[in-house]
């Protein structure tokens, strides 16, 4: 497997896109992609949480779980760590960076135990990345998440106006549109990529 940082970034960003190729983080993908502003808020919150979570879980895994031979506990430990971390970050931002806090608003706690966050922390370990590569990987995934959710919000805003039959209005047509976008992204798979 490649260790080229650029390739890993592009693989995480587009080729193995976390939403469209790995099918993770679908709840925020459909939940907040209704308007551009909410999509953008969620993307920034995701970027923020994903990066910090990867750093902390990577450290905990390599310096606590591995030496103690407790790898099987990683799911429970990671969830615990991420949840605490986000709570801490939220209260820290509220105190010291009011503008950033109000920009992310409610999205920060919403992303806490999201599958996309947990998956990125696991994958960074499963691919045996160093801390730097794991950071690049998380960055790529978070930006990929943001890209797709922002792109899709544009589609959703258009769908609002589409003359649809009543049974297709809302989520049904959003799912159909998402599958078409996912098909389009599938084209990148031939390029290169990380093993799924």
């Amino acid at each position: 497997m490649t260790t080229n940082p650029l390739l890993i970034f592009i693989a995480a960003f587009i080729v193995n896109n976390i939403i469209l190729i790995r099918y993770l983080g679908l709840c925020p993908f459909f939940g907040v992609s209704t308007t551009l502003t909410t999509a953008f808020g969620m993307s920034t919150a995701c970027l923020f949480v994903m990066l910090i979570a990867t750093w902390v879980t990577w450290t905990i895994y390599h310096f606590l779980l591995l030496p103690l031979d407790l790898i099987f506990l990683r799911t429970a430990v990671f969830i615990l760590i991420i949840a605490t971390l986000v709570q801490f970050v939220e209260i820290f931002l509220k105190k010291n960076f009011k503008a950033l806090y109000s920009a992310m608003g409610i999205y920060l706690p919403l992303i806490t135990t999201n599958c996309a966050i947990l998956a990125v922390t696991f994958l960074a370990i499963d691919y045996r990345f160093s801390l730097i590569l794991a950071t690049i990987f998380a960055l790529g995934n978070a930006l990929g998440f943001g890209l797709v959710i922002v792109l899709f919000s544009a589609i959703r805003e258009r769908l609002e106006f589409a003359p649809l039959s009543r049974s297709f209005k809302g989520y049904p047509i959003a799912f159909i549109a998402a599958s078409l976008v996912a098909l389009a992204f599938l084209g990148f798979i031939g390029l290169f990529g990380l093993p799924l």
Binding site: D69, V77, T84, F88, K94, I106, F161
Partner: protein, 334 residues
């Protein structure tokens, strides 16, 4: 040490450490929100649904305190939360609750002709993008029923004339239709308000007359007719001062284009008793020639002409006039 104990100690210890750390940090870094804000936050449902237009209940609570926002924006909370908030903020609920959405345009399909054939999507906002809709009046209601589709209470229905009809009983004055209307022809008015001008055209007389049969063309009749000076001309439209207006309905009946709307279900009529001295004061104030009679003799009200404005009732020096069949005044307090 077995894996069993090792894992219990690791996970338990981690949980304990993080829990204590978090508790400590919460105390240390807690933002000093005011006591009022905390109370409001506790009263709100806490579901963070965003119906109020803010990212969550906490933000809305903060805005209520700091920016003095109205307390009736929480839809899922309903009446219960509103009452709680009213108690906390010490606000008069009656003034907030008793509002209703009203359409301030009367130009339906029949009254206002179309400029071009519109064949696009069936949403007002979409039609609005196409030269402001296909109605020849650029100010009026597009008439494709976006308000009906966004009303969460099903209080708005479109009629055959392509105009939204608001159901008084179902409307909760949440203001969603008001916000969503691309033409701004929906407003919230007090529920007790019966009479209002239903035209938003800022065009001059002839331009309005050319496109709409019920549009206000700035004739000034209502302004001169109003006995309470509640109407003033601003731009090309009369503006009503709701504090001065008594809902007498004179403007409604004097308006040559029927641009005013009257929400009253029925109006009373004047009945003159035998106490009448025939002074003629009532004849002077009646704008509709609904009272006749010769001097010094008992006058007579003409029911067909009387609109029930009550001007004669106020003017009669001997209190010989009563307003009969006053159903309209009952609906006003309902």
């Amino acid at each position: 040490m077995s894996v069993f104990f090792k894992s219990i100690i690791t996970l338990g210890g981690l949980g304990l450490c993080l829990g204590v750390a978090l508790a400590f940090i919460f105390k240390k870094l807690a933002v000093a929100g005011s006591e009022l804000e905390k109370q409001i936050k506790a009263a709100l449902p806490g579901s963070n649904c965003g119906a109020c237009g803010f990212p969550g209940c906490a933000v809305y609570a903060e805005k209520i305190v700091k920016e003095n926002l109205p307390i009736n924006k929480c839809l899922p909370g309903g009446k219960e939360v509103l009452e709680k908030l009213g108690k906390i903020m010490g606000k008069d609920l009656d003034a907030l609750e008793h509002k209703i959405a009203a359409l301030i345009c009367r130009g339906g399909k029949d009254e206002c002709r179309e400029r071009f054939i519109y064949d696009g999507g069936t949403d007002c906002r979409q039609a609005y993008l196409m030269h402001g809709g296909n109605k020849s009046c650029v100010f009026g209601c597009v008439g494709l029923g976006h308000c009906a589709s966004v009303c969460p209470f099903g209080a708005i229905k479109m009629n055959k004339n392509r105009q939204p009809v608001i159901n008084d009983k179902k409307c909760t004055a949440c203001g969603i239709c008001v916000k969503q209307c691309p033409k701004d022809v929906l407003v919230l008015i007090p529920r007790t308000k019966l009479v209002y001008l239903a035209c938003v055209s800022q065009d001059k007389g002839k331009a309005v007359k050319d496109v709409c049969t019920v549009g206000c063309f700035t004739c000034n009749i209502c302004i001169r007719a109003c006995p309470y000076n509640a109407l003033t001309m601003k731009g090309n439209l009369p503006v009503m001062d709701f504090n001065k207006c008594t809902d007498c309905g004179i403007c409604v009946h004097r308006c040559p284009t029927d641009s005013y709307l009257d929400r009253a279900k029925a109006r009373p009529y004047a009945f003159i008793s035998s106490a009448c001295t025939g002074c003629g004061e009532c004849v002077k104030v009646c704008q509709f020639k609904a009272i006749e009679g010769s001097p010094e003799q008992r006058h007579k009200g003409i029911i067909a002409k009387c609109i029930g404005c009550g001007e004669c009732f106020n003017a009669c020096p001997v209190r010989a006039i009563t307003m009969a069949g006053a159903l309209g005044h009952q609906t006003r307090t309902a």
